[in-house]
Amino acid sequence: MSASAGTDSSSAAPAVPGSSAPGTGRIRLATSLFVLVVLVVAVLFPLAENSRQGTMSIAVFAVIFMVAVSAWNIFSGYSGYLALGHAVFFGVGAYTVALMAQDWHVPAGWAIMALLPVCGVVAGLVAIPVGLVALRTRRHTFVVVTIAVFFIFQTLATNLAFTGGTGGIQLPFVSWTFSVYNERFYYVALVILVATVALSWAVRRSRFGLQLMAIRDDEDRARGMGVRTGRVKLAAFVVSAIPVGMVGGLWAYFLGSVYPQSAFDPLFDIALALMGFFGGIGTIAGPLVGALVLESLQQYFTQTFSANGLYLIIYGGLFLVVILLMPRGIVPSVSHRLRSWRAQRVDRASKPAAGSDAAGVTG
């Protein structure tokens, strides 16, 4: 998988004493400030855009996808196993909230929001058997197996009685005024996003994350060095399913209904991969950038033009361009440019280095 990893500056290992990069401390400060600014903008955003409901609804979808891609990245990005079946968890989350609302007669409003964590948990539970079966195979068969599992779930949703068949399930309509409707969903999604990004960041820095990335680089060697590869992969798979389940539930509630075709949508899977690769998988910011840009674009398209084939062509074409020309994605390519630009400045500023060791610095 041509993806970049630990070069994302917001998650680098703590500075090495005697490190030759003079600005490391300054970079981290700048990054923290940047994150803070982004958060503030995100929170204040609706106040500025309140009048344009079209934009707000785009924002809700964008944030939902940012959560999903970040969560997907925790598994696929860090371990290198490409999972193209996470729509299963999305759909499971959607159906869970719908069924709970229906069977337990939950009143519309904030009460349903409280059910979202349950959706996450259910998705996580589903991920256990799925992961156990799928992770037994080699990497490229794994991809295909996840695709297969996805179609099974889609069929089940279409045909099982309790899921309402092709007619789907209607959720209770929430009687918030139109102006705050989008806004409230947006904030709930934002909360889930912050939690997911924090989770991604924590995993990245933890031993667990290190083991995942070792698996990505050389699974056999990792096993030989004591990493429990089976458990680590399964754990990451399950963990990645939970946020996806939660936003699946949120999405269902936002739209007001679930259907098998929409809750289990094959395009969702490819969208996750596309956004992940576009932004840069294996990084923290990459999925966010990818989802933000692409989902906003897609929603804009469907709102302005009708859902005809044009946006599919652009979608697919964009992906091809990204994969072939910028296989590492936007964030790593940009941060790579930044680093080499900075390195050039450092070189020019400092004296030429004394003779390096016999083997030289770069191979």
């Binding site: 079966v133 037994r136 195979t137 990497r139 044009l310 091809l320």
Partner: protein, 294 residues
């Protein structure tokens, strides 16, 4: 469910299995030659169906006659794909990248078809799509028989191509030992390109039969590729014979299930089968035993 119904389901499964075998063989061939999993194979079948549709509705050509045009067209598409994209994927992670790249193709193809034709369902019509042949006490749709016959002829033709022609020998050689093939002077790149062309060209035939038996729209590619993938995984990636055998097997099972329980469950057969097999034998029924997962 009657015994007769069961027999009919089995026969139907064998007949349709033949056509699926053809399409799955193309998928397996592409994998064997290039180490590439062509997720767009399903979309290409749909594309083939639409091409047949255009030729039939707007030019009045008979469906089988139309193949004379659609098959070379799809062949050219395959060659173009290999030359333009697949070749440029790095050897190291080629398979994983190919999944994403071909999935993107599938989306582009779907987009183009939606743009041109819209989302309505279409069908290919001809006399033989509605007529049935009365054999013993079964009614077999003519199109099933014709489709099976065509698939059998084509698969036989492919066999001859691989085992009786110079090109086929060169192809088999490059599959068995690439270095030696290089050292003998075989133009491995060109051989691969042509093999991919063939792998895609079969979707034109499959598309015509598919479109004549089932109503289709641009979205239908997903259902198709999931069946084809199931078939190829079960048979073992890269084994053409395996793909053929498992195609017939799965189609028969699916049809039997459809008759015994309900049609909607038949798709599940596909996936349940592969999950079962993969749990026990991760390389598929006919696949080579893989080395340690990397």
């Amino acid at each position: 469910m009657s015994f007769d119904g069961l027999i009919e389901a089995i026969i139907d499964g064998v007949l349709t299995g033949g056509v699926y075998a053809l399409m799955a063989a193309g998928l397996s061939l592409i994998f064997g030659v290039m180490d590439i999993i062509n997720i767009a194979q399903g979309a290409m079948v749909v594309l083939g169906a639409y091409l047949s549709y255009v030729l039939s509705v707007h030019l009045g050509l008979d469906l089988f006659v139309g193949l004379l045009i659609t098959v070379p067209a799809m062949f050219a598409l395959g060659v173009l794909l290999e030359w333009g994209f697949m070749r440029r994927l790095r050897e190291g992670d080629r398979t994983s990248m190919s999944i994403l790249v071909t999935y993107a193709f599938a989306i582009v193809i779907e987009g183009v078809l939606t743009l041109i034709f819209g989302s309505d369902y279409e069908e290919l019509n001809a006399s033989y799509t509605t007529n049935s042949v009365h054999v013993l006490n079964f009614y077999l749709p003519e199109i099933y028989l014709l489709g099976f016959a065509m698939a059998a002829v084509l698969l036989g033709g492919l066999y001859l191509l691989f085992f009786r022609t110079k090109f086929g020998r060169g192809l088999r050689a490059s599959l068995q030992n690439r270095t030696a093939a290089d050292l003998i002077g075989i133009n491995v790149n060109r051989t691969r390109m042509l093999a991919v062309g063939i792998g895609v060209a079969v979707t034109a035939c499959g598309g015509m039969v598919y479109g004549a038996t089932v109503a289709f729209n641009p979205d239908s590619g997903y259902d198709l590729i999931s069946r084809l993938l199931a078939i190829v995984i079960l048979g073992g990636m890269g084994s053409i014979g395996g793909a053929m055998a498992s195609a017939v097997l799965l189609l028969v099972l699916a049809d039997v299930v459809a008759v015994a329980w309900a049609p909607v469950w038949s798709i599940l057969v596909f996936f349940a089968a592969i999950l079962l097999v993969l749990s026990v034998r991760p390389e598929g029924l006919f696949g080579a035993r893989a080395g340690r997962a990397q």
